[in-house]
Amino acid sequence: MPKDKLDLLQGTLDLMVLRTLEALGPLHGYGIARRIEQVCGDEVLLNQGTIYASLVRLQQRGWIAAEWGASDNKRRAKFYSITKRGRKQLKEDAAYWARLSAVMGRVLALEPKGGGR
């Protein structure tokens, strides 16, 4: 594996999954994984298998719902969709991320003292 891929922080995958489902509607596990890969490009280190732990966690919390169905090419697959409570949670988490990344950005942008020189 290339060295410069990002490790996912705890909880970030859950947020990505929620957002993906909100944006694209019901998707199966493979679809979600592919979508995240496409968005992230090659920047994130993601084993597609790990997405299932995230899915079951979100499902147990009641933020997403799951249902077996048929895919475009008539394969049986389990489709996930975001619930109302999931949307609410996503809103909160997204706001939190935005704040955190803004704060991190400011902290990392600090100039050395006496930066006038």
């Binding site: 597609q48 298998g49 299932y52 732990a53 995230s54 079951v56 147990q60």
Partner: protein, 881 residues
């Protein structure tokens, strides 16, 4: 928050639906891979590469499944279930081990919980009253001597009650229970009732509320009031079928109509706290004016003011008592010498040492149990080392293996604790129903919450203790070594055996300490039983009799003469007499002074006084050493006479012949000594006799009457004919108990018997466990040395030689343990010296006997494997190399 709860519930649900969920996720992942492969094919990759790429992207399938499982379920719980399942399977396979381990644990834990319940009830738990730590006990005469000295005059009680500042409230009861015995007129025949007089504020001071009705009012405690009683709960249930309508009604007690004002709560048991071994049926208020002139009559209890200590109250008593208005009265002498102790201390202080000794004994048992089980575990550990090595090789971590071992030992100790709890339950139930045992609070012994907590604590400690030893040893060995098919190497086996031998030696040493302690206590007990009582309890019995003399001594004389004439006429009765109190039963004390003698101020003058008829001394089997017995001519009109015991003679007329001398202190007149009897153990078998005086019933007013008969046959046989005779003389004679005198003696030694019995039982248990340990180790070593023994036999060693070899090895182990144990026993014996009677803590007979006993049992335990060793067939043993 709600989402977290939802998740937890879902996880729990997922835990129970493992298989369908596993199938589900498998199908899902398979679909995922199919989709990925299809897409790769569409992108034009060749089939094998499309497949390879899909798998690479996915990551490890098994890992993904594992992470899924961890995320959705409870991994810790799953592990536990796995361990439990594994343990159950193992234990089912090793039935004998499981059975032995659980049995040993049950015995050890059961004994511990039972003793804890007793200790907790008698020693640890506060008395069943409100704020019991603020209750204090007044002991007159500094607690020395009989009830006559330790009780108080009514005046002294009332004056102190008014004057003191340490006590919020003070109350009293009359401990001379024979005054307060009565007869209840029942529907069919008169029923004897036992009762006690208590001060009007008795229940308020203790903080006891009636279950029904009310307590005594102030009006009911003055002279001329309408008589009132409170019923004890059990008596109410037994006699009045728990009928609540009885409250407010009158019952006929001693020919008098008495109003039942209330019923006391079930948990109030007067006898359990203040008169162990007695049951009180009714409680009546003390009318102080009636007992004002009766001398020392009151036992006094006080409730301390908040923040006042017993020591402060004691300091006040020391200063205040001599300055009370009545303090110059000569009868106040013993009252002024007051010692105040906490009520709990008074009730159970005497038993503390015995109970702590008992607790230690049972703790030793638990220790032996632990050692024994560690030993058993080690024996299995040897066989299981390969299994553990295999599991480590397959990737089980050290923590995981220890976890597994602890699961097993905790499961065993849990099973043992459950069984032991049942055992403890049975023991405590049995003890609680030993009503006649003179131990306070025994009736309320039960396995309660505290005992359950104690059980849990013990079970966990024991489980961890005996599980940890092999757990720390088992994993982390050289795997390759352990996996090799040859089993443990010789040196490893030897090291293993040394560890087990050490355990057995310590087990024998612990058992030895227990045995020696039990032996010393048992010998003390035998010595107590051997004491010369001064009377002959065998073939004698006592029965309480009722008569009505109207307070007239002549009538009393006539009634009792008639009664004794009829009773002695019954075939089989050798002698009969009457006393108002029996030795070792109840007592009262008076004063006795030699007339004309000069005494120092501190001289003790108390004597135990008994009012008896002619013939009583003979019926009790007391020994008249000089002078004469009373006769019916010793009437109020003739000269007052007394009989004294040797202790009284020694004190009052040292070095002189007391016969014919005059004494003061009995009534208001001089009395002439007409006889001297041998000393009698009057209050305990273990204390030397105190001075006693016997007075004719015709020259003083007796408190009740105990008819004592000496019989040719066992006394029980004559019970009904004696009772029939008494009924024919007095129709109101209640159906009182026919008490063999031996029973009174047994009651007096019951606490000691109780402790000896328990400690001996523990010692036997310890012995059995130690012999099991010896058997286990010797048996293991014989198995290990089968080939060696085979070679030796092939080279010409005889069976006897092999047998002796094994037995001498057993003896070496036992002797090492005994030597250690004896050394420890010397120390322990000194610690329990105060519990011994007539036995030195270094008693050589006991030590030698116990050493021999241990050796004998060890030989027996070693003999079985020794026989097996001797029967080894050399050919077969050698072929197995």
């Amino acid at each position: 928050m709600i989402d977290s709860i939802r998740q937890a519930l879902n996880r729990l649900r997922a835990f129970f639906r493992k298989e369908p969920l596993d199938r589900d996720v498998e199908a899902e992942m398979a679909a995922h891979l199919e989709l990925a492969i299809e897409e790769n094919l569409r992108r034009g990759l060749p089939a094998p590469e499309a497949r390879r790429q899909a798998f690479i992207k996915f990551g490890g399938v098994e890992q993904a499944k594992e992470r899924h499982r961890e995320a959705r379920s409870l991994p810790a719980l799953e592990m536990l279930v796995q361990d439990l399942r594994y343990t159950f399977r193992n234990l089912r396979r090793e039935r004998v081990f499981t059975f032995m381990a659980v049995l040993i644990l049950a015995l050890g834990i059961g004994a511990n919980v039972a003793v804890f319940s007793v200790v907790n009830t008698i020693l640890l738990r506060p008395l069943p009253f409100r704020d019991p730590q603020r209750l204090a006990w007044f002991a007159g005469n500094n607690g020395v001597g009989g009830l006559g000295g330790t009780t108080y005059e009514a005046d002294a009680f009332e004056q102190y009650q008014r004057a003191n500042r340490s006590f919020q409230e003070m109350t009293a009861f009359v401990p001379f229970y024979s005054f307060t015995e009565g007869t209840l007129m029942g529907p069919r025949e008169p029923v004897p009732v036992s009762g006690v007089w208590v001060a009007g504020n008795f229940f308020e001071t203790l903080g006891v509320q009636p279950a029904l009705g009310r307590l005594f009012t102030a009006e009911e405690c003055v002279k001329g009031a309408r008589p009132a009683v409170l019923l004890s709960y059990p008596f109410w249930q037994r006699q009045f079928a728990a009928n609540p309508a009885i409250v407010g009604q009158a019952i006929t007690l001693n020919h008098e109509a008495v109003t039942v004002v209330g019923v006391l709560p079930p948990r109030f048991d007067f006898g359990a706290v203040f008169a162990p071994g007695e049951k009180m049926d009714i409680l009546s208020p003390i009318i102080m004016d009636r007992i004002r002139t009766a001398g020392h009559t009151l036992s006094v209890i006080g409730r301390l003011e908040p923040g006042v200590t017993v020591a402060q109250a004691q300091a006040e008593a020391k200063i205040l008592f001599p300055h009370l208005p009545g303090a110059s009265h000569p009868d106040w002498g013993s009252d002024i010498k007051t010692t105040i102790v906490g009520l709990k201390e008074h009730v159970s202080g005497m038993l503390r040492r015995s109970l702590i000794a008992l607790w230690c004994a049972v703790g030793l048992i638990l220790l032996i149990v632990c050692v024994n089980l560690s030993n058993l575990q080690l024996a299995r550990g040897a066989a299981r080392s390969k299994e553990f090595a295999l599991r480590s090789a397959l990737g089980a971590g050290r923590g995981r293996l220890i976890c597994q071992l602890l699961t097993e030992s905790l499961l065993l100790s849990g099973a043992g604790a459950a069984l032991g709890l049942g055992l403890a339950f049975a023991i405590t139930r049995f003890l609680a129903h030993q009503g006649s045992m003179a131990l306070p609070l025994l009736g309320s012994v039960e396995v309660d919450g505290a005992a359950l907590a104690w059980t849990l604590l013990i079970a966990i400690c024991v489980g961890v203790l005996f599980g940890l030893a092999p757990a720390l040893r088992a994993p982390g060995r050289n795997l390759q070594e352990a996996l090799k098919d040859t089993g443990p190497s010789v040196s490893q086996g030897r090291q293993h055996e040394r560890l087990r031998s050490t355990l057995v030696i310590s087990e024998v040493a612990l058992a030895c300490v227990l045995l020696v302690a039990a032996g010393l206590l048992l010998r003390s007990f035998l010595r107590v039983l051997d004491v010369d009582l001064g009377f002959q309890p065998s073939r004698a019995a006592a029965v309480k009799v009722k008569y009505d003399d109207g307070g007239n001594a002549d009538r009393r004389s006539a009634i009792l003469q008639e009664m004794l004439r009829h009773v002695t006429a019954i075939p089989g009765i050798e002698a009969a007499g009457i006393a108002d109190m029996l030795p070792l039963d109840r007592n009262r004390s008076w004063w006795l002074l030699a007339k004309g003698a000069v005494f120092s101020k501190d001289q003790e003058h108390g004597v135990f006084a008994y009012l008896v008829t002619p013939g009583y001394l003979e019926a009790m089997g007391m020994h008249l050493r000089a002078g004469r017995d009373f006769n019916w001519q010793d009437t109020p009109k003739n000269e007052p006479v007394i009989i004294i015991n040797q202790a009284a003679a020694r004190r009052e007329w040292p070095g002189q012949d007391p016969i014919g001398r005059l004494a003061l202190g009995i009534g208001d007149h001089e009395s002439r000594v007409v006889g001297v009897i041998s000393d009698v153990r009057e209050s305990s078998l273990e204390n030397a006799s105190s001075p006693e005086v016997y007075v004719p019933v015709t020259q003083a007013v007796p408190a009740g009457a105990e008819l004592v008969v000496r019989t040719k046959l066992p006394p029980e046989v004559l019970a009904s004919s004696v009772m029939k005779t008494l009924r024919s003389l007095n129709a109101e004679q209640p159906a009182t108990e026919f008490r063999p005198i031996q029973q009174i003696v047994d009651h007096a030694v019951s606490p000691r018997r109780f402790f000896v019995l328990l400690v001996s039982a523990f010692a036997v248990l310890g012995l059995v466990l130690a012999s099991l340990g010896i058997y286990g180790v010797i048996s293991y070593s014989v198995t290990r040395q089968t080939q060696e023994i085979g070679i030796r036999m092939a080279l010409g060693a005889t069976q006897a030689r092999v047998l002796m070899g094994v037995i001498s090895k057993t003896l070496r182990l036992a002797l090492a343990g005994i030597v250690l144990g004896m050394a420890a026993s010397f120390v322990v014996a000194r610690l329990i010296a105060s519990l011994l009677f007539g036995t030195a803590p270094t008693d050589p007979v006991t030590f030698a006997a116990m050493a021999l006993l241990l050796c004998g049992v060890a030989c027996l335990a070693g003999f079985i494997p020794a026989r097996r060793a001797a029967c080894i067939d050399p050919m077969r043993a050698l072929r197995n190399i």
